[in-house]
């Protein structure tokens, strides 16, 4: 893990290259996180790969920070096999303007993972070759893993309501 000073040096190098990309850094439990402006995510990842050696994109996943704004977050987990090091790159977008540039052209591994973030959270990845729902049916409405989406499910059947509710288990 880059320690706290290493993380600051990394952020400094990034700021030199892309002036307003880095919105913040966080070092928690031995691991570094960079908070990046969503407009510069593709350039940031390219810089981190070419200049700093973070060559492996392990995971792209979404988080819903409801009720904090901006609500939708996308995390990119980077791994450097040569240095056995991990780094998180975070971006946050609002639900009203959930557009993020897709990193799939540079990192082929992000293909299905960005589709999953789109399916579950509604983040639209511009430039993705095939942005469709991946886990839910194609015509499903809603983005299930947002915090305000109801969890759904069937009511639990007890003896007193099993014949009336839901009725199909007669």
């Amino acid at each position: 893990m880059p320690d706290a000073t290493g993380l600051e040096l990394l952020a400094g190098g990034l700021r030199d290259k892309l002036p307003d990309a880095v919105l913040g850094t966080l070092h928690f439990r031995g691991k570094g996180t960079l908070l990046i402006d969503p407009r510069h995510i593709r350039a940031t990842l390219q810089h981190l790969r070419e200049q700093e050696g973070w060559t492996f994109l392990a995971s792209v996943h979404g988080v819903d920070y409801y009720p904090e704004e901006p609500r939708l977050g996308v995390h990119y987990e980077l791994l450097s096999m040569a240095r056995q090091d991990r780094l998180t790159v975070k971006i946050r977008v609002h639900t009203e303007a959930p557009t993020v540039e897709s990193v799939t052209p540079d990192w082929p591994t992000a293909d299905h993972q960005e589709r999953e973030v789109y399916d579950m959270f509604g983040v639209v990845f511009e430039g993705h070759p095939d942005l469709r729902r991946i886990l839910m049916p194609e015509d499903y409405q809603g983005h299930p893993q947002r915090r305000d989406f109801p969890i759904g499910g069937e009511p639990v059947l007890f003896t007193h309501d099993e014949s009336s509710n839901p009725g199909w288990t007669r």
């Binding site: 392990a58 979404g62 988080v63 995390h75 096999m81 591994t109 886990l135 759904g152």
Partner: protein
């Protein structure tokens, strides 16, 4: 024909890595059959395989574009066993998430539980006792062997070697007996808890594990004797669907698939967790990246796991099996009768659950299929705010299309078998 006589002898050419039959096939140039515009004679056929299909290892749907019998493109369609586990996990307290999350990748349930428990322990900044770490390693390695046995049984079944299924499942039953003895359940055991393991192992368990590990190398030798030099297996797997390491790296593939292509990345060695640095084992790495290397790497991994289990049993330390922090782990039952604090802790843990300080953590481990990681975001309450599993099969599935390009349908089936996708992990 000369080519026919080549087929009847062992046509494996070690220099090319391909049999004479394969080289004959490769010499045929099919590039003029690329899909031309406006030509009705050469059209690609789109065939739908699945989701209900005997060879797709679960409910995987593949849209295969075929040119005769050659695969030109594959689009996997998933989601047929999507269970909303991550959403369900947000609804339950941290302790109760463990059984829910175990059911994701249903062949490596100890790994799912370990990734999640490790993530929560990192958030809590909690130390796991040494004995619990060793017990976790033993159960995880037994699970790795069991997952590879199921893989081997079903893959050999797909390729045509049907009797392997019964042999592998015979060993699997022995492992499940061991799990039942120590944890009470065959699958989805809920044994790993935040802070350690549920309970200590019973008397006689260590002897039973040793009986198993004593016989396992001989059994693996028998599987190898059946399969390694089998002409049919060689022709179906050798030199088939090779993918180079850079493409796999770019696709995010980890685990035995990446190791078969030559990259020796294994989290147990590179970034050790849970006392893996105490054990002496090797990481099998392939050379060519074809299906045969993927098969050989996994079979060898079973033997390395046996070594790890033996070493762990030899050096199993004494001590507690779960953390002593009563705010996280349940107090032992005998204390409930005498200590008021124990009673209160027990009550709070069972009704509300423990609270985790706010933060986000990404905790990886080396599952049988690759890097399995758990991302947990906590907001300070007793329920997680987001649980996400980075499942290895989900990312590895993206390699299907590049691997099977310009291969036969039969090679597609064999490659799917060697990819070892587990749809529960893919769809979550």
């Amino acid at each position: 024909m000369d080519a026919m006589s080549d087929i009847t002898t062992t046509g494996a050419d070690p220099a090319a890595g391909k049999s004479a039959y394969r080289r004959m096939e490769d010499s045929v140039d099919l590039s003029e059959l690329q899909h031309p515009v406006g030509d009705l004679d050469t059209e690609l056929l789109t065939l739908n395989m699945g989701p209900h299909h005997p060879a797709t290892h679960g409910v995987l749907r593949l849209l295969v574009q075929l040119d005769g019998e050659i695969v030109r493109d594959i689009k996997p369609i998933i989601g047929y066993v999507h269970t909303g586990i991550e959403k369900t996990a947000e609804d339950k307290s941290y302790w109760k998430v463990i059984p829910v999350v175990e059911r994701m990748d249903y062949l490596s349930y100890f790994f799912n539980a370990y990734a999640y428990c490790g993530a929560v322990e990192t958030l809590l900044d909690l130390e796991v006792p040494k004995r619990a770490q060793y017990l976790r390693v033993i159960h995880m390695e037994l699970n790795r062997i069991m997952s590879h046995l199921v893989w081997l049984g079903t893959s050999a079944l797909d390729v045509g070697a049907m009797s392997m299924f019964w042999y592998c499942f015979r060993e699997r039953e022995q492992i499940l007996d061991l799990f039942e003895q120590s944890t009470g359940q065959r699958m989805h055991t809920r044994y790993f808890q935040v802070g350690g393991v549920m309970e200590d192992i019973p008397d006689g368990w260590i002897e039973n594990v040793r009986k198993f590990t004593a016989k396992m190398p001989e059994r693996v030798g028998q599987y190898r004797a059946l399969l390694n030099k089998n002409e049919i297996l060689l022709q179906r797997l050798r030199g088939v669907c090779t993918l180079d390491e850079e493409t796999l790296f770019g696709l995010g593939v980890t685990g035995p698939l990446l190791r078969a292509a030559g990259n020796p990345w294994d989290l147990r060695k590179a970034m050790p967790y849970s006392s893996y640095e105490d054990f002496d084992f090797q990481v099998p790495v392939g050379t060519e990246g074809d299906n045969y290397d993927r098969y050989v790497v996994r079979v060898q991994e079973m033997l390395e796991s046996v070594k790890i289990i033996d070493q762990a049993l030899d050096n199993l330390p004494e001590g507690p099996t779960i953390t002593g922090d009563r705010k996280i782990a349940l107090p032992p039952r005998h204390e409930l009768a005498t200590s008021m604090e124990a009673l209160i802790h027990h009550f709070k843990l069972v009704t509300e659950g423990f609270r985790v300080p706010p933060g986000e953590v990404y905790f990886p481990c080396e599952a049988p299929r690759g890097e399995l990681a758990c991302f947990v975001r906590s907001d300070g309450s007793s329920k997680p705010a987001r649980v996400h599993m980075r499942d290895p099969s989900f990312v590895n599935l993206q390699a299907t299309a590049p691997m099977c390009k310009d291969a036969y349908i039969a090679d597609l089936i064999a490659t799917l078998a060697m990819l070892d996708p587990v749809l529960g992990g893919i769809d979550r």
